[in-house]
C-alpha cells in the first residue's frame, strides 16, 4: 500500500495484523468447509483429493496460528488480553475514514 496513504489513514500498523487475522479466519473456515464436504462425498477419487487438501489446510492453520501467537497478534491463552486487543483493533477500524 502507498506509504503516505497508510500514514494518512492510520492503516500502517493495522494492515499486517488485519491481513494475518483475515488469513487465520480463512484457515479456520477452510478446515470446516473441507470436513463438511468430505462427509458428502462417495467417490474415492474426490475423497483422496479432499483428504489431502484437508491435511494441508490443517497444516496451514497451524502455521498461521503459530506465527500470530509468536508475534503477539493472537493470544488464545489469555482471553482478556485477546479481547482488549480485539477491541482496540475494532476502534482503529471504526476510526478509519470511509
Amino acid at each position: 500500500m502507498n506509504t503516505i496513504l497508510e500514514h494518512l489513514t492510520g492503516m500502517n500498523k493495522l494492515t499486517d495484523q488485519i491481513i494475518a487475522a483475515d488469513f487465520l479466519v480463512s484457515a479456520k473456515t477452510s478446515i470446516i468447509n473441507y470436513s463438511a464436504a468430505l462427509t458428502e462425498c462417495a467417490s474415492a477419487e474426490i475423497k483422496t483429493v479432499l483428504r489431502k487438501q484437508l491435511a494441508e489446510a490443517i497444516d496451514t492453520h497451524g502455521q498461521i496460528t503459530d506465527y500470530m501467537m509468536q508475534k503477539g497478534l493472537y493470544r488464545p491463552y489469555f482471553l482478556d488480553e485477546q479481547i482488549r486487543l480485539d477491541l482496540a483493533n475494532a476502534q482503529t477500524a471504526l476510526s478509519l475514514p470511509s
Binding site: 470446516i32 470436513s35 492453520h61 488464545p76
Partner: protein, 120 residues
C-alpha cells in the same frame, strides 16, 4: 400398515426397515461428529489438543466412509441414483409417520415407585 402394532403383517421387511433407519441415524451422527471435530480443530492451539482432535477427525472420516459403503451395499443409500434415493426417503418418511400415529405406549409412563430403593 394398519393401526395394530401387534399384527404380524407389520413385521414384513421390518428388520431391514429398522436397520436402514438406524444406519441413517448412525451416519448422521458421524457427520455431525466430523463437523464438531472440525470446529474444535479450528480453535485448537495447544499441540497435544491439536493432535488429539486431528486424530478424532481422521477416525470419524474413516468410520463415515465405512458406514456409507455398508449402506450403499445394502441398498439403503443411493448417492448416485437420486431418483431412487428420493423414493426411499419418501417411503421411510411415510412409514415413520404411520408408526408415529400408532398408540404404542400406555398413557401413564412414569415408572416411579416401581424401582427398588434400598436404604430409605
Amino acid at each position: 400398515m394398519n393401526g395394530d402394532y401387534l399384527d404380524p403383517i407389520n413385521a414384513v421387511n421390518m428388520p431391514d426397515m429398522a436397520d436402514s433407519s438406524l444406519a441413517l441415524e448412525f451416519l448422521l451422527t458421524i457427520k455431525s461428529g466430523v463437523r464438531s471435530c472440525a470446529y474444535a480443530l479450528a480453535e485448537a492451539v495447544t499441540p497435544e489438543v491439536r493432535a488429539l482432535i486431528r486424530n478424532m477427525l481422521e477416525e470419524a472420516l474413516a468410520l463415515h466412509e465405512e458406514t456409507a459403503a455398508l449402506m450403499m451395499n445394502k441398498g439403503w443409500l443411493h448417492p448416485y441414483e437420486l431418483g431412487e434415493q428420493y423414493a426411499l426417503d419418501l417411503k421411510s418418511a411415510i412409514t415413520t409417520v404411520q408408526i408415529a400415529q400408532m398408540k404404542l405406549f400406555p398413557d401413564h409412563t412414569s415408572r416411579l415407585g416401581l424401582f427398588a430403593t434400598p436404604d430409605q
